[in-house]
Each structure stands twice: as structure tokens, then as C-alpha cells.
């Protein structure tokens, strides 16, 4: 078990050593986002901008214009919400090479409550031209995603979770931005998930197997550009889809997958995610249960999707 923000911290350290152009900015949350790991090793390349998210994104834009690869870091709610216009007009419109790291994605942030639980960040970033949106499923993948983001040109949004969650991918596993990973083959239904909830999808796969249902599990770590081929193949071969994410079902992974399907291959889709509501305080374990984000909910959704299959 590791929080996937740790993966970000490790990724930054590795990048810092490998590439002197990498710089990191934070807005007074360096400990919590793990950007302080980079700051300790490369103090001259770390800039705390203070509690000023808009200025941080603009400063990152300027650093990228000067040839640097800036990682602008804070909580997902603040970076995508408060600085959205800066990301849109300054960074995306000019297609600047700025990496944006949103820590504390999802309701599993826990006791801090609704104000700190980013549940709309994927949607906010996904609508922006030139933006890539990456949601790693565990700490190992988070590290790879961080490094991969530095190695592509253009704006990227990386979303990390706060809580320690199971680490189920390995260093040697293939990772490429925009290429989904099929974790389990299956023929009856496909579960497409992003972030730590992918682990719940794997548990759901086992529960479904016990019922005689063969569920494919896809780790869709990149929401944009979406791996459409994998989605369409799953629709073709299993004829029913479940999406799962710790995010509003409107505008996030569920929407992205559905957009591809309605245009090409309409099959029943059930969406596991936040259903148009804010979060609240509680332990992460309590909240994911209350908001229907655990394996059991995915199983129920899979059964629903199966029942709706066009015979």
C-alpha cells in the first residue's frame, strides 16, 4: 500500500537527476503533494509561489517559455478550478510545455471534506484543446506517468490520490500515455476504470468470475487522448461496458468512453462514479462505500449492463 502521490515524488526526483530542465513549483502544499522531495534534492530548481495558484500557473508558463519543463503542483481542486482560465488561455491556447499535478483527487481524500475533494478536475481539464489528462492507478504507475509527462511536449494534467492504496502494477509493466492497459481478458462485459478504483475493478472481476461472468478489466490511465481502439474492441467483443472513476460521472471517464461509443458502437454503459453531488467528511473507507465506489458497486453495475445487453 502506497499513496500514489508518493509515485509523483519519486518521479520528480528521478526526473530532477536525469534532466536539468525540470523545475517544480508548488503553492504552499509541498509536503502534502510530495514536491518537497524534489525541493530537498534540487532547491535551486524549486519555487514555492505561496498561496497563489493563478500566479503559479502563469509563472510555470513563463518558465516553459524559457525552455524549462515546469511541474506546477497543488491540490487538484485548486489547480484546475481556481487557475482554469490561466490553464486555458495562457497554457493551452499557446500550447506551452507545462505539467500540472493535481494531488488529492477523488473523494478518498477523506476528512478534509468536500472543499478538498477534487471531483470535477478531469472534466475541467478534458475539455481543453492540447491538454492531456492522466490518472494513474497506483504509486508505481504514478511515477511512470510523471516521467512520461516530462517526455512529451505540451500541457499535461496528472491526477494523484492522497490515500495509501494497493500497489498492483510493476515497474516492468508497459506504460505509454494514450495506450490503455488490459489487465484482465474477458468476454461478457468490460470494466473500464482509472485511478486507484482500478483495484476495485480487479476485485469485481473475481467476484463476477465466481458468478460465472467473464469481465474484461481495462486500466484507462489516460483519459485524453483516449485509447478509442481499446474501447471499441471491448464494445465489439463484450457488448457491455462499465466505467468506474472517483469523479463526477458527468464529464469524466464515463463521459469520455460514452462519447466514443455513441459515435461508433452504441452498447449499454453503466457508470460508477460520483452522481452529481459533493462529497463530505469521513474516513476514505467510509466514503468510498457511501458513494458506491467499491468492487461490489462495480459488480452491480456489471450485472445491470449485462441485463441491458441487446440480445
Amino acid at each position: 500500500m502506497l499513496p500514489n502521490r508518493d509515485g509523483y515524488g519519486h518521479g520528480l526526483i528521478e526526473l530532477g537527476a536525469a534532466n536539468s530542465e525540470v523545475v517544480v513549483l508548488d503553492a504552499d502544499l509541498a509536503k502534502s503533494t510530495r514536491s518537497d522531495w524534489f525541493a530537498d534534492k534540487f532547491p535551486e530548481r524549486f519555487f514555492d509561489i505561496g498561496i497563489a495558484e493563478q500566479d503559479m500557473l502563469g509563472t510555470a508558463a513563463g518558465l516553459s517559455l524559457g525552455g524549462k519543463i515546469p511541474f506546477a503542483t497543488t491540490y487538484g481542486v485548486f489547480v484546475t478550478g481556481r487557475a482554469w482560465d490561466q490553464i486555458r488561455t495562457t497554457i493551452c491556447y499557446s500550447e506551452l510545455n507545462v505539467k500540472i499535478a493535481g494531488a488529492h483527487g477523488g473523494i478518498s481524500v477523506g476528512p478534509d471534506g468536500a472543499t478538498h475533494q477534487a471531483l470535477e478536475d478531469i472534466a475541467l481539464m478534458r475539455v481543453l484543446p492540447h491538454m492531456r489528462v492522466i490518472v494513474p492507478c497506483d504509486a508505481v504507475e504514478a511515477k511512470k506517468a510523471t516521467i512520461a509527462a516530462a517526455n512529451v511536449k505540451g500541457p499535461c494534467y496528472l491526477r494523484f490520490a492522497r490515500e495509501a492504496t494497493p500497489v498492483f502494477t510493476e515497474e516492468k509493466d508497459f506504460f505509454e500515455i494514450g495506450k490503455a492497459n488490459v489487465l484482465k481478458e474477458g468476454t461478457d462485459v468490460t470494466i473500464i476504470a482509472c485511478g486507484p478504483i482500478v483495484y476495485e475493478a480487479l476485485l469485481a472481476n473475481e467476484q463476477l468470475a465466481a458468478m460465472g461472468i467473464s469481465a474484461r478489466v481495462i486500466n484507462m490511465h489516460t483519459i485524453k487522448p483516449l485509447d478509442e481502439a481499446v474501447v471499441l474492441q471491448a464494445a465489439e467483443e463484450t457488448q457491455a461496458i462499465v466505467t468506474a472513476e472517483e469523479h463526477q460521472v458527468a464529464g469524466g471517464l464515463g463521459s469520455a468512453v460514452s462519447e466514443v461509443l455513441v459515435k461508433n458502437k452504441p452498447v449499454p454503459v453503466e457508470m460508477v462514479g460520483i452522481q452529481d453531488t459533493f462529497g463530505e467528511s469521513g474516513t476514505p473507507e467510509e466514503l468510498v462505500v457511501k458513494y458506491h465506489l467499491v468492487a461490489n458497486d462495480i459488480v452491480l453495475a456489471a450485472q445491470k449492463a449485462l441485463a441491458r445487453k441487446i440480445k
Partner: protein, 276 residues
């Protein structure tokens, strides 16, 4: 790189003013008021002060200019054309479909622009980021950033003011076009920003106060900013919105409106003298 003399600059300012009213008239829209108030600041910058190479826009040593108040791109396009980035005739394509000269500047379309702008309040942060990159790379290029006085109402500007001073970004030179007008009226009646000099000073900036239409004061201010080490400088330039066109001067309504044919003639007469 240009080093126009004071006399040449004076003449160039007339041409730039002429360009502004002509190009916005041809577009049928645009922002002449705040373009005209910044003519001396911008003309002196592009044709005398800045190190830049229009024929080599990616020259790493070039000084950078960031137009934070993106709506006054007519003045920027004009000084760019007149320093050789593109033909002066192209100015008349402003705001037309397919033109590189978008209604607010697009760096993707027009090379020579550092960054796109149009949403107010963001430019100084970008200038700071460039200055930080210059420090890391041990480069000594300077970064100029033009802001409106109304624009100073944006909170992000003051975040950036803090950042520049905190990191002692002495390559940064902010220019405030203090024309005391914004869209809804006088800045002091919409949302007062005064006293500007004291504000910037208390944020640990070096302040230089000038008449923004007096070219020798403008040149001297740029030089003073360049000599100031250890802190960023701001040139607070008192100006007249719509300067040079009698009917536009100090009239808020000319913020975002272009001349019709008759008005254009009067404007050009005002700028060049009747019968010229």
C-alpha cells in the same frame, strides 16, 4: 535591433498611431483607446530599447515582451510590423478570418509573439517565469510586460508583484499604462487603484513615474529600470487614453470601438496634421 533617435521615434509614433486607427477601422472593431495611450512606451521599446531580431525570432538572447493587456494588440502589431516582423500592409488583416493578427494575440499563429493573451491579469506571472528561467540559465535578457491600470484590479497581478520582488527578478520591467480609464468608466470610480507608486513601492519594487507621452522621459525610464539591480522595476506612465485623436482622448467609449470613415479622416488629420 533598432536604435531610432528621438526625432525618428517621434515620427514612428505618428505612424504607429496612424496604423492603430486604420487597422481597427478596417476591422470594424478593436481597441484603439488603450493602444493609443501606449504608443510611446511601445514604440520606444521596439524601435530603441529592446534587443531583438525580427529575422530570428527564436534568438535565445532576445529581450522578451509580454502583452498582459492583450486587447491592445493593435499597438503591438504595429510596432512589430514597423520593426520588420511582417509587412506593414498585413496590419489591415486585423481580426479577419484567416489572419495571423487575431483580435487578441495568438502566439501559435504569429511568430515573434512570446505567448497568447487576452484574459487580463496574467502577463506579469509569465514574465516572472521567464525571468526565473533566465536566472537558472544565467542569461541576462530583460522581460518587459505591459499592463493596464484597470487590469491592476485583477488579484493575480498582485500575486505576481509579490513573486517578482520575492525572487528579486531585476530583469523584469513592468509598464503600467496609467490612463485612468477602463470599460465602465474612470478607474478611480469603478474600483480605485491609487496610490499606485506607494503600492508598488510597498511591495518592494523600484518605481519610476513618468509622463508616458514624453519620449525622452520614456527612454530615461527604461534606462533607469535597466540599471536597477536586486529588485524589479515598474514604470508608471501617466497617459491619456485615445492620445493623439482629439475626439477619442479621455473618452471611455473609445476603449473598444473603431472609427467610421469620417472619424478615421479626422483621426488621421489629428495625427499627421490636416492635409497631410
Amino acid at each position: 535591433m533598432y536604435t531610432q533617435s528621438l526625432e525618428e521615434l517621434k515620427k514612428s509614433c505618428k505612424d504607429v498611431r496612424g496604423d492603430i486607427v486604420k487597422m481597427t477601422a478596417a476591422a470594424g472593431s478593436g481597441h484603439p483607446g488603450g493602444s493609443l495611450s501606449a504608443v510611446e512606451l511601445m514604440t520606444a521599446l521596439y524601435l530603441n530599447v529592446m534587443k531583438h531580431r525580427p529575422e530570428e525570432v527564436t534568438w535565445p538572447e532576445r529581450d522578451r515582451f509580454i502583452l498582459s493587456k492583450g486587447h491592445v494588440c493593435p499597438v503591438l502589431y504595429s510596432v512589430m510590423a514597423r520593426s520588420g516582423y511582417f509587412p506593414v500592409e498585413e496590419l489591415l488583416t486585423l481580426r479577419k478570418l484567416g489572419s495571423r493578427l487575431q483580435g487578441h494575440p495568438s502566439s501559435k499563429l504569429l511568430s515573434g509573439l512570446e505567448v497568447s493573451s487576452g484574459s487580463l491579469g496574467q502577463g506579469l506571472s509569465i514574465a516572472n517565469g521567464l525571468a526565473l528561467s533566465a536566472k537558472l540559465n544565467k542569461k541576462d535578457f530583460r522581460i518587459y510586460c505591459l499592463l493596464g491600470d484597470g487590469e491592476l484590479q485583477e488579484g493575480q497581478v498582485w500575486e505576481a508583484v509579490m513573486t517578482a520582488a520575492h525572487y528579486k527578478l531585476d530583469q523584469v520591467c513592468a509598464l503600467v499604462d496609467y490612463n485612468n480609464l477602463q470599460i465602465d468608466g474612470a478607474v478611480e470610480s469603478v474600483m480605485g487603484v491609487a496610490p499606485l507608486v506607494e503600492k508598488w513601492q510597498s511591495f518592494n519594487w523600484h518605481t519610476i513615474q513618468i509622463d508616458g507621452h514624453d519620449l525622452s522621459q520614456v527612454l530615461a525610464a527604461y534606462e533607469e529600470a535597466k540599471q536597477t539591480k536586486g529588485k524589479p522595476s515598474v514604470i508608471i506612465a501617466t497617459t491619456v487614453k485615445g492620445k493623439g485623436c482629439s475626439f477619442m482622448e479621455n473618452v471611455a467609449g473609445w476603449h473598444g470601438k473603431s472609427c467610421n470613415e469620417k472619424e478615421l479622416q479626422i483621426a488621421l488629420d489629428d495625427i499627421y496634421g490636416k492635409g497631410n
